[in-house]
């Protein structure tokens, strides 16, 4: 049991424990904070594997972006400190059984499988190599997915603005809508009144 093994098990405990608390905690804000622990543990796992670039991307995008976004939306949609509803016990038990069964089955098949390595010499996964291959137009380059993803991000940004924008109804449209609501109840009286107000305006 050397230091590297202990670090791996600490990271794994942080990931699994954080994820378990994130999906079972009844306070939504605590749930988001436990998700943060889990994501930081995953970034630590990438650093453990010597993939610094992916670890940095994980910290920047997930920890710094998505979790902050989730916490903002919790503040916008929830009162502070109120508990969420406990899941119905039948649904909780069946979900737990399904997840445990799937987990055990998958782990069993993984442990039975023998993986074969390519055995070729490793190349350095630094930012220079990653960038050179990502932007290359040769056979193993990733320039086309890179461009497609950039268009997807642009579309997502515009879509977010269009979905979340608050449309303010201009005042003259509110005036024009009002007589329709009133005319159902008192059709005779409202019309001359409205005519008067329009003349005054």
């Amino acid at each position: 049991m050397n230091a590297s093994t202990i670090i791996f098990y600490l990271l794994a405990a942080s990931i699994i424990g954080g994820a378990l608390m994130a999906v079972t905690s009844l306070k939504i804000f605590r749930s988001a904070v436990f998700l943060l622990f889990s994501l930081v543990g995953i970034a630590g796992l990438y650093f453990y594997l010597d993939y610094e670039f992916i670890g940095a991307v994980q910290v920047i995008v997930y920890v710094g972006g998505i979790v902050v976004l989730i916490i903002f939306s919790i503040f916008l949609t929830h009162g502070s400190g109120e508990d969420m509803k406990r899941p119905h016990w039948i649904r909780a038990i069946f979900s737990a059984v399904a997840a445990a069964f799937g987990c055990i089955l998958t782990m069993f098949y993984i442990s039975q499988y023998t993986f074969t390595t390519s055995g070729k010499p490793a190349i350095e996964p630094n930012a220079g190599n990653i960038g050179a291959q990502m932007l290359s137009t040769t056979d193993h380059g990733y320039i086309l997915p890179f461009e497609v993803v950039s268009i997807l991000l642009l579309a997502a940004m515009i879509g977010c603005i269009v979905i979340a924008i608050k449309v303010k109804i201009p005042p003259h449209e509110i005036l024009a809508e009002k007589p329709e609501d009133d005319s159902v109840d008192e059709s005779k009286n409202s019309e001359p009144l409205l005519a008067n107000t329009q003349i005054e305006l």
Partner: protein, 104 residues
């Protein structure tokens, strides 16, 4: 036990995936369901990175898949949160059981 190999990483990612599945099935709140989806996507990322490290160290393809998954997860989270905020503005709740206006 002493040597951390590919199987350790696969077991961690497998457990993380099914924790996410459990959360997605039990939670009825849109934000916590989104968190469960993030857990599932992260378990896939661990798989790609571990396979790249232990089996195909001569290539970088697993890293590229991880980067693209992280990008798409960020876009997905942003759009989902815009939808959640709009839903909250119209219904004053983000519980999926109570937003059944379009149910026939």
């Amino acid at each position: 036990m002493n040597n951390i190999g590919l199987f350790h990483f696969l077991f961690v990612s497998c457990a993380l995936f099914f924790i996410g599945v459990y959360g997605f099935l039990t939670r009825r709140n849109l934000i916590t369901m989104l968190m469960s989806v993030e857990l599932i996507l992260n378990s896939v990322n661990i798989n790609f990175v571990a396979f790249n490290k232990f089996l195909y160290a001569d290539k970088l393809d697993g890293l590229f898949f991880t980067i693209f998954i992280i990008t798409i997860a960020a876009a997905e989270a942003a759009v989902a949160i815009a939808i959640i905020i709009n839903l909250y503005r119209n219904h004053k709740t983000i519980d999926v059981e109570e937003t059944d206006v379009m149910k026939f």
